[in-house]
Amino acid sequence: MYSKDGENYFIVDAHIALWDARPENQRNIPGKQFIDCFYDYHRNLSPDAEQWSYEEFLYQGGERLMKDLFEDGYVDHAIFQPAYLGAFYKNGFAQVEEAYGLAAANPDKLTYNHCYDPRDGEAGLDRLRADHEKMGFKGVKLYTAEWHGESRGYKLSDPWSYRYFEECRKLGIKNIHIHKGPTVRPLDRDAFDVADVDHAASDFTDLNFVVEHVGLPRLEDFCWIATQEPNVHGGLAVAMPFMHTRPRYFAQIIGELIYWIGEDRIQFSSDYAIWTPRWLIERFVDFQIPADMTEYAPLTTAQKKKILGLNAAKMYDIPVPAELQLPDADETKTGPRQPERADLAGVQ
């Protein structure tokens, strides 16, 4: 829990990882390029005082994770969202077994989400069933730009994606987290397009689709889809640290999200270990939309509380002390939330 100015915030970090990107686990050059890309994100968007050495960044281990999140980081509960990346890392990028073990040992603090690849076909479905029986997860993380044999990406609208969603439905896996990377096939079109989320969300209205990094770099496409689909949510991975380097950009991201999808469908995450939660939470609680951006209403404390934890807690049935709970906003389920604020009329 984080407390400031007499307000208490229940914190759910909805997207964390336990990875191993050390050279001995890298399968090939893309394995090194992948973690180097993450490290540049980390260096570029972190305050100086929060920057890690490259060595630290390659691997953290469970002990450090627990400290960074729960001792230093104010986090009440965190959710693993593993990216397997077997084409890049010998034992996978996300350390699935270790993360599951850590969550099993700390069920009040950690939720383990699993991952699968629909291109594994029938054999993958069997494995998903077996994994679910063993681990009992409520959510999965899908990285659509994962390399798989000759294929370097898939769409959520592919027939096999649908077969897996049907299986998720049967197993009670309700929360589908989507990480859109540059999906390569076919190369003809925009690799970051989130239109396939629209198809899947329309056809599986009983599943929640959480689009990580709120569709960035296609915020506009994400907002347009999410405003029409009440089961599409936005995860703030990668977006949060812009508070530090580009606060006006962050203000616009959060302002657009509140406008298009409302305060009940946005989830905080640090994207640990790319960033650590402590400074992000402190700054978000202090954050406000700049006064000259009159197209957005100021962020309220209630909105911050929902984003920082209550929204994800609700999705995952994580118990929240009664005094920290808040009711849903009395808002439309689809379409813009503050249509009266769409204009700049009266700014002067």
């Binding site: 180097d36 540059p182 003809d188 960035l216 915020l219 506009e220 580009r246």
Partner: protein, 272 residues
Amino acid sequence: MTALHLDPAAETRWDVTEEDIRSALDSVFDPELDEPITDLGFVRSLEVQAGVGGARVEVHLRLPTSFCSPNFAYLMASDSKDVISALPAVAQVVVELDDHHDSDVINAGLAADAGYRGTFLHEAEDSLDELRWTFRRKAHTAAMERCLTDLLRANASLVETEVGTIRLWNLPAGRNKEALLRRRAALGLPEAADATVLVNHEGHPYPPDAVPLALRRARSTRISIDGNAHFCRGLLRTRYEGSGTDQSPRPDGAEAADHHELLPLIVKEIHP
């Protein structure tokens, strides 16, 4: 007899300079960010050597991450090769993309002039034309929103539903209007002074009740492009030390913390 024939190498040797190459590359755009690769700092090195029959030019490109989308990477690299090859004094062009996960594939394709489908084989279906159009439309949408938002901020009496009736002649002259006209031309939209500003990519205006949503949607597009452009610039500076000196300032979406600080932000500010 031979005196009548000039040696082709001697004739063209000094006709192309690094500046010529650079200014040719000014016309190569990152389609996603809607900016020349020369402004973004994507040109890593540029070498011109005299050669038989004309100059030999070698250009190396670099991108903000190894995992930048390969279709955009290929477009910029192949466009670079095309514009340099089109210079009359150039006999041989080598364009290479450095440090990308698809460098080998793309560089081999460029060296062999294999084209898009020849380069990417089974991963390519038809062409990258539709991709280019998608981002030309987005660039137009963003340019349109910048102009209309400026106008709204400058005119307190302007009612929002009336934004749909604004014509090009209502826009003050300046950088944003010029940019909008360029984007309109790229889409084949009318540039006449009485043309409506707020239109979809086919040139159709919006009925008054649809104007606020159209404007707001355009705004999210503008925010996205500006945000991506600055993030990509920042990542390039992080990845390649010193590359910031090769970047030109981008006024759209600039913030105090950018390393280019002295930018005209006035248009976005309000002075009550």
